[in-house]
Amino acid sequence: MNGKDAFEYWMKNVQAVDLGGRDVMDPARSGKSVGEIVRGAGGGLEFDTEPARYYKLLRELAPGGGK
């Protein structure tokens, strides 16, 4: 399957899954959560790089600062 075929397959078969009806994955609800937190953050997200900052923070917050 080439890239064009794969895209067409996805459009026809995968995207055709009734996401709302099946309700298992619920992207709308999950996406809404992200949106609500972003809005709740006021100034928005920090203008920084991920995942570098997250992993760095995880290490820095270890007992003794990870040393």
Binding site: L19, D23, D26, R29, S33, G35, Y54, L57
Partner: protein, 477 residues
């Protein structure tokens, strides 16, 4: 040294490792008993994906012929069917990976090999580790040793069932949204979800690049600390591995809870909990108080209520990227729930995915300040619902699936989102005879404090001494 039980499989990992070291039992004897237990109990519970008994006996003979000063020398173990070993199948609970023979050696297995452990069987799991109940439409559902009509929790379903059934002394699992801690909780054993980066993920089946962790399931806290002492550490083969010192997990284990401050969350973790589990949790808190812990209330960031959904979104999105090719070409070989959840990932807007990841930093910083600025660890229930039956939770891709998965993962997924360590410890049994569990959540890379607290609780209660009634289901295979 204490005498071993009549069947060596009834000993704990710590006891059997000591007995092997002392020469009071041979690896061949222990391995033979393990093979029998995996064949009888493992099969009855559908916990075993595959076992090569001849190879297991060969490993044991080699160990007996060449005694070594190693922490797990000669101990036969079995693990979730997703840790790669060259020349051995790793089928990931799926039809898609049926017959897959990896050429990599998993970083975690490499460390266990280096500690002298034997690897004798592959344990069943949820298809591609995507599921918290333990159902598997492809390989069949694993059954709970405390009552086979009930779920094991997932996705390390076979690991939970086999450890609880005394068919293996310990097992590795993976935890992306609760997949070590939930089967541990449902099966009444101990499960550690480690800090992101603490255990190598090299050569382990991927589900989510940013959430997957590897951790042990064992019968006791001490056994778990022993297992993590072996598998934790930096691995240059895993780009996400943390080059951080490994704590001495066994050193402070018996120091007790005195001098430690334990926080009870004022939001989220008790929301929607059953009355019986709430009472059991209160009892566990009282035990910790008696053990000397100072108990205080702690507030959590408001965003914690969304962490469950964010974990689900990230997992589905990253998983769908990994599975797109197979979904396009072999979609009908997936179980319905697995396919539907991965398909949901295709619908995630890229901006939402990136924002969901970016929010981790700010929520972690806020959580750390609010919680660990006040206490050494957070104590929560592990589940808010009683362990349900397999039948009542067989929702597949139906309309009740999202709500059920959200409820089962209510206490586990936020910990994955933050990337922090979480230890699930058995806290007794409900009136229905099924396990209940508590969770300790700690600072990043502070698994040692969780073990100390878990051991303090375990020492007061000794729930691990109660065994499931295997006679009730042993012949069911």
């Amino acid at each position: 040294m204490t005498d071993l039980p009549a069947n060596p499989c009834d000993a704990t990992l710590t006891e059997i490792a000591a007995a092997l070291k002392a020469g009071s039992v041979s690896s061949a004897e222990v391995t033979e008993a393990s093979i029998a237990r995996l064949n009888e109990r493992g099969a009855a519970l559908n916990a075993v994906a595959g076992m090569d008994a001849a190879d297991a006996r060969r490993q044991a003979q080699e160990a007996d012929a060449n005694p070594q000063e190693m922490p797990l020398w000669g101990v036969p173990l079995a693990h979730k069917d997703m840790f790669y070993r060259p020349g051995r199948l790793s089928e990931c609970g799926s039809k898609i990976r049926k017959g897959f023979m990896p050429d990599q050696l998993s970083g975690a297995l490499k460390r266990l090999d280096g500690a002298g452990a034997l690897d004798i069987a592959r344990l069943n799991m949820v298809e591609f580790a995507l599921g918290v109940t333990g159902h598997n439409e492809i390989t069949g559902d694993v059954r709970n040793p405390w009552n086979p009509a009930h779920i094991t929790g997932g996705s390390s379903s076979g690991s939970g069932a086999a450890v609880a059934a005394r068919a293996t002394f310990a097992a590795l699992g993976s935890d992306t949204g609760g997949s070590v801690r939930l089967p541990a909780a449902c099966c009444g054993v101990v499960g550690m979800k480690v800090t992101m980066g603490r255990v190598s993920r090299f050569g382990a089946m991927p589900l989510s690049y940013t959430l997957d962790t590897i951790g042990p399931l064992t019968r006791t806290v001490t056994d778990n600390a022993l297992m993590l002492s072996v598998v934790a550490g930096y691995d240059a083969d895993d780009a996400s591995s943390a080059n951080m010192p490994v704590q001495d997990y066994l050193g402070d284990l018996e120091k007790g809870a005195k001098g430690l401050r334990v926080g009870l969350a004022t939001s989220h973790f008790m929301d929607g909990i059953s009355d019986e589990l709430a009472r059991r949790f209160d009892d566990a808190v009282a035990v910790m108080q008696k053990a000397g812990a100072e108990i205080v209330d702690v507030d959590l960031p408001d965003g914690i209520q969304y962490a469950n959904a964010l974990t689900s979104l990230i997992t589905a999105t990253e998983g769908s990227a990994l599975h797109q090719h197979w979904m396009e070409t072999r979609g009908d070989e997936y179980g319905k729930q697995t396919f539907a959840r991965f398909a949901g990932g295709f619908a995630t807007p890229a901006t939402r995915y990136v924002q969901a990841l970016n929010l981790r930093s700010s929520m972690l910083a806020e959580f750390n300040e609010m919680v660990f600025g006040n206490v050494d660890a957070l104590m929560t229930p592990m589940m808010i619902m009683d362990v349900p039956t397999i039948e009542e939770t067989d929702v597949r891709d139906g309309p009740n699936a999202a709500e059920l998965l959200t409820r089962v993962g209510h206490c586990s997924r936020p910990v994955n989102y933050l990337g922090l360590p979480g230890l699930s410890v058995p806290s007794g049994f409900t009136a229905a005879g099924l396990p209940s569990s508590i969770q300790f959540v700690g600072r990043s890379f502070d698994e040692a404090t969780l073990y100390r607290l878990g051991r303090a609780y375990e020492r007061e209660t000794e729930w691990f001494k109660t065994s499931p009634d295997a006679a009730a289901w042993e012949g069911d295979a």
